[in-house]
């Protein structure tokens, strides 16, 4: 059902399995207990970082199937995207899954893009079970978007650290306490910021716009939520989001508006302004946050995954950074 720009799901599509896996640095972070699997080697025993990223997603997919006690054939559609050229991580993971596949792209917003689409496919009856997820790898992203991994250039404090990890969920109408209530697909927002080493600032307005649309469409305020969590705004982006909310005098509590990019690492782990990457929102959501919901610590959550949609080519050609944010509300329902 459409409510303004927001999709409201009436048949209670839910998340029946959720998995997060993390790399060696993530294992040292405060969410260590929330990963279903962690790796000590950044290569995961593979020959390249691209192959390692792929393995993160393949492993998360396998773990999700095991958790839901499903075979591969019981997944109707796999929705996935990533940060590497041509969505290779998603496509190659789909190759080993061997099920119908739709590659999606939204940079780091892809986790919620996938979840929103999964919920709508299940709610409308086109699919019984949809698997969705994404992976990113710090060093694969570094060499794709920035400099060679061992290059000694100095990064500014506004830079962010791409998460090595993957997050996967399975959506269906089967009984689960984790119900997907509504989703808002974001508009592309471009405030004219050009610094690719300060993406949090570029993405904050997109997060602001999507959060406000989601709340207004549902007739709610921020106070109706136990938590609103953005994907990877980092310190600077989050501060800017808070500033915009204050300027518009939106009532909210700062400690209930968090950023996944600030939850993954300890401050002394030196990640500049915070974490980023498709796995930033995906690992925190499919790991920590859904674990907390299952334990009854969160009843209503809005997850807002943010993405910067530029490429190294557009940056070199002097273009600004278009950004996007997608929001999904998940609610805990006892006995459903």
């Amino acid at each position: 059902m459409r409510q303004g720009r927001t999709w409201v799901f009436l048949k209670r599509p839910g998340i029946i399995a959720h998995v997060a896996v993390g790399g060696p640095k993530e294992k040292e972070g405060p969410l260590a207990q929330d990963y279903h699997k962690v790796y000590d080697d950044v290569y995961l025993g593979k020959k390249s970082y691209e192959e390692a990223e792929r393995q993160l997603l393949i492993d998360a997919v396998a773990l999700a199937l095991r958790q839901a006690q499903l075979t591969r054939d019981e997944i109707d559609v796999f929705l996935s995207g990533d940060l590497l050229a041509q969505n290779i991580t998603a496509s190659f993971a789909a190759r080993s899954l061997g099920r119908p596949f739709l590659g999606i792209h939204g940079a780091c917003s892809v986790s919620m893009e996938g979840l929103a689409l999964a919920a709508s496919l299940v709610d409308s009856g086109y699919a019984l079970r949809v698997m969705t997820g994404t992976a990113s790898h710090n060093l694969a992203a570094e060499r794709t978007y920035r400099y060679p991994t061992e290059y000694g250039a100095q990064k500014p404090p506004t830079a962010q650290w791409t998460v090595t990890g993957a997050g996967v969920g399975i959506v269906s109408l089967e009984p689960t306490p984790l119900i997907i209530r509504a989703a808002t697909v974001g508009r592309v927002i471009d405030m004219g910021l050009i610094d690719p080493l300060n993406m949090g600032a570029a993405m904050a307005p997109a997060a602001f716009e999507t959060i406000m649309t989601h709340l207004n469409d549902l007739g709610r305020t921020a106070k109706d939520y136990d938590l609103i969590v953005t994907g990877d705004l980092g310190k600077i982006g989050r501060n800017l989001l808070l500033e915009m909310l204050h300027k518009e005098s939106i009532p909210f509590e700062e400690e209930r508006l968090l950023d996944a990019g600030l939850m993954i690492y300890h401050p002394e782990q030196e990640v500049f302004a915070g974490a980023s990457g498709t796995a930033s929102s995906a690992t925190v959501f499919y790991g920590h946050l859904l674990n907390q919901m299952e334990r009854g610590l969160i009843d209503r959550l809005m997850m807002v995954a943010t993405g910067a949609l530029m490429s190294p080519t557009t940056f070199q050609q002097g273009e600004s950074i278009p950004t996007i944010a997608h929001a999904v509300t998940v609610e805990r329902m006892e006995g459903s």
């Binding site: 400099y147 061992e150 000694g152 990064k155 600032a201 600077i236 800017l240 518009e248």
Partner: protein, 153 residues
């Protein structure tokens, strides 16, 4: 429900600027001076060593000196330390010849997964290329100016 609007692009850009954390120029310059200076000091020491013990002259002792510094930089790059040094020391690590060696070694390492010819061979000069291109171009212009000057004076 209250209708909210996004801030104007220009006012948002101003707002974003105030949130940006600035790097301390003084600390950065001091670190660059310290590390860049130490690398140069090491180079000078190596030069004396090659002159005193290996029979090089002041003119050609720079050749083994540069080779040694390049070797050390490549070694540190391969062991995963040079990028950390670069983050700490900034220009102090990138400007000396060791920084140039690091750009080439790090690119070669990165593209090893794409094979020796198209990977390492095809990309090794990707980062170092601009330095060489503009080095040659500026040397040409300076030589041109010098030649014209000598013809006129």
């Amino acid at each position: 429900m209250k209708q909210v609007s996004l801030p104007e692009a220009t006012s948002y850009q101003q707002m974003a600027k105030t949130q940006e954390e600035k790097r301390s120029v003084v600390t950065n310059v001091l670190r660059a001076f310290l590390v860049g200076g130490l690398i140069s000091l090491l180079g000078q020491g190596l030069m004396w060593m090659y002159e005193t013990f290996f029979g090089f002259t002041e003119k050609n002792a720079s050749n083994p000196t540069v080779a040694t510094l390049v070797f050390l930089s490549v070694l540190l790059t391969a062991l995963g330390h040079y990028d950390k040094l670069g983050q700490w020391a900034g220009a102090g690590a990138t400007v000396p010849v060791t920084g140039f060696a690091n750009t080439m070694a790090s690119t070669a390492l990165d593209f090893r997964s794409e094979g020796l010819v198209l990977g390492v061979g095809g990309n090794m000069f990707k980062m170092a290329g601009p330095v060489i291109v503009f080095g040659v171009v500026s040397a040409f212009i300076i030589a041109l100016i010098k030649t014209i000057w000598q013809l006129l004076v």
